[in-house]
Structure formats: C-alpha cells, structure tokens
Symmetry: C2
Subunit: 362 residues, 2 copies
C-alpha cells in the first residue's frame, strides 16, 4: 500500500445494486482495516418510509428496507443524506445511480472532492451529447465533469443473487492507476464475488451497456416462441456486433475482455434472466408499448436496452454505419414500433457473424 | 462446380438428428439438381415398428415415425437397410450415429467407398485409444479408418427446433478441399439453418464435445439452486478451459472459431436447454446415479458429458495437467461420485479464467 492513511470509501447511490455492493464492501472495509477506513459512507437520496427517514432506518436497523429488504449491512456502513458530506475527503467514490442523474450529481460534487480521488462507475448506460449527437460513456462523463480518474465495474452479477452470496464474477476496468488495482480487488472481492481487473476499461463499460440491446432481441425471440437455438444465435451475433461497434468507435480493445465476466458472462446472464429480456418478451406477447410494460412490470423503473438501442442508432446513422449492425438496428426499430418483431429473423440473416478485421491485439 | 456429375449424398444414420438433417438436405438436393443427385440415401439400422420394417415405412410414408414423428421427409430421401448399398458410389457421406458405433461402421465400409469421397461427421464424442490411453476425435478416426477427408458439422442446433424450422446456425469445419465448401454450404444451408465454414476443423469438433462437460457443471449448479450469475460464470470459465485444452492438445486454433455457432453458440444453448444439463440437475436433486437417470429420463440413451469428462480426465492425468482444468476435473469427479456437487464452487475459484498465452493467431 502506498497510502499513508487507510482509504475512505463512499458509495454514491443506495438502490438495489448499490445496497448489494454496500453489503460486500462494508464487510471488506471492516476486514482490511490497514487498507480502508472502516466507515463506508453511502449517499442516500432521502425519502420517508412509514414516517421515518430512510437514512435513519439504515443507520439504526442496518438494512435498506426499501431497496434491499432482509439483508443486514455491516454497522460500519453509514447512510448520509447530504451528497457533499458523504463524498468529501473520500479516496474512492463508487457511482451507482441511474445514468440520467450522473451529470446533475457530478455538478453538485464539482470542487468538493479530494485530490487524487478515484471514481468507479457501476452504471450501465450512455450519456447523450445532444449538441454533437453522439454518445459518451458514463465514465467519460464523470472523468470530465469531476476531473478524476474513473474506473468501471461490470459483469454477470444479478443483484439478488449476489446479495444471497451466490457465486458470481465481475470485471473492473481501470485504465491507469495500476498501483491501486490490489486495493480495488480487496475492496470488492470475496469468496463468492470474484474480480478480474483489466486496463481495457472502455470495452468493459461498452459490453455492460450494449448487452442490454442484445437481451432485447433475445426477449423478442422468446416472445415469438423460439427456442434455445435461436437465442444462442442471437447471443452470438449480438456479441459480434458488440465487438465491431467497440472497434469502430473505441478502437483498440483486447479480445480477452470479451471472455471476461463483463463480456460473454454478462451477456449470457442478461439474455437468460435480465429484465430487458423479460420486458421485450412481454412486448411481443401483449402488444403493449415498452413504456406501458415498464409501468406494469417494473413499477415505473426503466429498462436500459431500448434507450441504448436508440442511442446507438443515432450514432450509426450519423456515421452511415446502419448496414453493419442489423441486430442493433432491428432492436431499435422494433422497440419504437417501426418494425414488426417477427422480422427480427430476417435481420439475423444479414448479420456478418464475424469479428472485426483488425481485432488481433493484446 | 468442378464435379462433372451431380454429387451423390448418403446419410449414415437415421436417429433424431440424422432424420432432421435428412429433412434439410432432402429438400436442398432436390432444389439444387445441378449440384446433387436428387436421391439422398439414408442408411437405416433396420427395426420393426408394429410389424413393419422402418425402411419400408420411411420409403412409403416419407416419415421416420420412430425418431422424428410428424415431420415429412421429401420423397427423394430413400431409406436403405444395407450399409454398403447405401454408401457405395457416394461423393458425400454424412456420419450421424452414436460415437461408440463409429469404428464398427467404418470397418464395414472400408474398401467400398468411392475414391475422393468426403465424409462429414455430425458426431459429438471422443473415440478412446485404449492402447495409448489417449482420446481421438471422431473425424480423425473416420479419416484414418476409411482414408478419406473428413469434415465436421457442429453448432447450436437442437434437433427439435431445427426440425420445426426455427432459426439456427451451424459451423462446418473442413481442413482441406476448399473447392467443395460452396457445395457443402448448398447442401446444408437454408433460410433458417445458417452455415459458416472454417478450416479450423479440430477446434469446431472439440467445442462440440467439450461443451457437454461444461453443461454438466451448469446442471449441477442448477441442482444446487444457483441462479444465472453462477451459470454465466460456469459458461465463461468452461469456455476458457475449452480454449486452453484445445491449445494444449490441438495447438493452432483460430480465436474466431470460438465466436462461431460451434463455440459460444452451442455452449450457451447446451447449458440452457441440453440434456446433459438436465440429467446433472437431477443428479444433484435426486442423488441417483447418472446411469439410473439415463434409464429413467432418456429411455436408456446416454448423455455425453460424463463420458467426455472421463476421457478428458484420463488425458489430463497422463500429461500431468489436472491442476490446469479445475472445472473439467470437478465434473469428472462429481459424475463418478468422488466429489460432492456443492464443492463445485470451490473448484470454480481455482479457475484461471484466462485465454491460453499464445492464442493470437489467424
């Protein structure tokens, strides 16, 4: 360890996934007291639950009764309602909020963070640069708005299963600061939550976002009544479109990254069990809109695949690349009711099913 | 086409998968009459069904009532009970029989085949060279026993789904005879059964066999009650053990092959829906032996994963490589009741999760 003082850690966010991560890092910070300040701060968007503040419930019952009921956080996890108070002096800031709040949260934090702090984003979504009509990675947004190094953590890890301590994996992408990699591993890893690190951070993050588009296609296929052969083809063809997209817009990925948990792992888990798959299956079967289904099936929470498909479509259109991505484009068109779901299969026939020409790199 | 005469095609085998392939190639041989002799011969191991010969039923009703009931073969598919009669003069011989019959069938065919004939194996299993204590690919066995070029066809294609004309893919591995690739594609491909060809034939075949071992691990995890995060980790770690095994024993694979239908496609389909997964789930839940479960659940048909795991274990043991393959070895030990299924998770922690060092090749 190069740090003189133990590192202070803050979770920016306290939803279902954030609270699950709080379970893990609360215990780890307690165990590795040479490395981490035992207090793990968690910024909580304050709300009232049966007349009590959520922060007060978390700090007395050690349970996020709203977003992760039934799981006890270790007592060193402290809920804090004020964002700057939660983050000031922190060495590691874990961002786990809906992607549409990233810019606002960063604006509030700007100028209040410790020099040399490291952000790590667990957020799966794109930021849209409306002026330029292009997408930006959430990590790029945080890096630019706060002027701090920003890593990402993605992978095949469904919150409920991780919270139940089932075996799962994750990939951390961290471009620089390799001296901090052992500390990041210590912070997140335990016997049943296994971490690999790579510097190929953009690929890690892009896999995390783009896989939701593929999961939509898998859901449409389920809705149409196709079996595992078709779903396997969609997963394969979708993975190849991901590799081509990454190469085109974030040139220089490492093929090993697609073999990490963030790559095939997350893609498979999401296409089997994720909510994008589920909503898109219902979309075909019920003929309701995605928006309606989100209200009915997810309590108003939104699925990220359709938005990601739209963002990608805007990019592809701008750069005249639509023909190279039949699967991504079909998902966008089906979600927006410009294409009948059963025409998905025609688009699959147009997929090249090949890695980018220049993928060989280490 | 370099052939003067249209190519004669024979199916050696008429089980569920063989009959499904007969559906496809019967239609294709009829459509492409410049390329193929319209008569597609199918060798049928004769049996009596309600007092009638199966060959006679197939040749009058155009349906394999025992192994693919309800699906009409095109009338140009002719069932023949005599093996040599079915194969003599054929240009393309499609082997689709249980792997334990390969050597016997080849011995019967030896000396009776047309010079320059091409075999294509759809068989997923190893041959065991008992004298040397090593495994051999089925294609290697056919090639050596009959002295003919032997290609393979593998992929994420579940017989029932392909027979129902659902969208599926397959990979043909064909080391030489590239002038015959267009003909092979014409023979097997249709709008809903998509074929890619590669010369990396050994990798194609090894993926087809080894994926069943991974599916056993996925089944154990299902039996233990784990969710998709654990299954995704098993698929990922299993795929990486496949790449390392192939590199070690069949040096020189092409990374693109793992992105083909025979690679991630088949692995995913088999781990979601295959019978190895199903039997191994039941193995954990019922505590019955694999043999008992095969009798109860598969009408005595055998699953290939446990046998493949044993064959691989023998190889790894011989070459002192057991420590490099924690997942494969765990499956062998669990199937043979040398390891409790719940210890699978400990073994997963030992997996390297990395591609072979020297994988970069095109």
């Amino acid at each position: 360890m190069k740090h003189k003082a133990p590192a202070k850690v803050t979770l920016v966010g306290s939803g279902n996934w954030g609270s699950t991560i709080a379970l893990i890092i609360g215990r780890n910070a307690g165990r590795h007291s040479n490395d981490f300040d035992p207090e793990v701060r968690m910024w909580v968007h304050e709300e009232m639950i049966n007349g009590r503040k959520l922060t007060e419930i978390i700090n007395t019952q050690h349970e996020n009764v709203k977003y992760l009921p039934g799981k006890k956080l270790s007592p060193n996890v402290t809920a804090i309602a004020d964002l700057v108070t939660a983050c000031v002096d922190s060495d590691i800031l874990i961002f786990v909020i809906p992607h549409q709040f990233v810019e606002n949260i960063c604006m509030q934090l700007k100028g209040h963070l410790k020099e040399g702090a490291l952000a790590i984003s667990l957020i799966k979504g794109f930021l849209i640069d409306k002026k330029e009509g292009v997408i930006r990675l959430v990590s790029e947004g945080i890096r630019e708005l706060l002027n701090i190094d920003t890593a990402v953590l993605m992978g095949a890890n469904i919150a409920k299963e991780v919270a139940n301590d089932e075996f799962a994996e994750a990939t951390i992408g961290c471009k620089g600061q390799e001296e901090k990699w052992p500390m990041l591993k210590k912070l997140f890893e335990n016997d049943n939550f296994r971490i690999n690190l790579t510097k190929d951070s953009s690929t890690v993050e892009l896999c995390g976002v783009l896989k939701n588009i593929v999961a939509c296609a898998a859901g449409f296929a389920d809705g149409l009544g196709y079996g595992s052969s078709t779903k396997a083809a969609i997963i394969r063809l979708g993975l190849l479109e991901i590799t081509v997209f990454v190469e085109l817009f974030y040139h220089g990925s490492n093929i090993q990254t697609y073999f990490e948990s963030c790559g095939i792992g997350d893609l498979v888990a999401t296409c089997i069990a994720g909510r994008n798959r589920k909503i898109c299956e219902a979309f075909v079967k019920t003929k309701k809109s995605i928006k309606e289904l989100e209200r009915e099936m997810l309590n108003g929470q939104s699925v990220q695949g359709p938005a990601a498909a739209e963002a990608v479509f805007v990019m592809l259109n701008k750069y005249n690349m639509i023909a190279k991505f039949p699967l991504f484009v079909a998902v966008y068109q089906i979600c927006t009711e410009k294409l009948a779901p059963n025409l998905l299969i025609e688009r699959l026939r147009e997929c090249s099913g090949e890695l980018p020409d220049n993928w060989l790199r280490s």
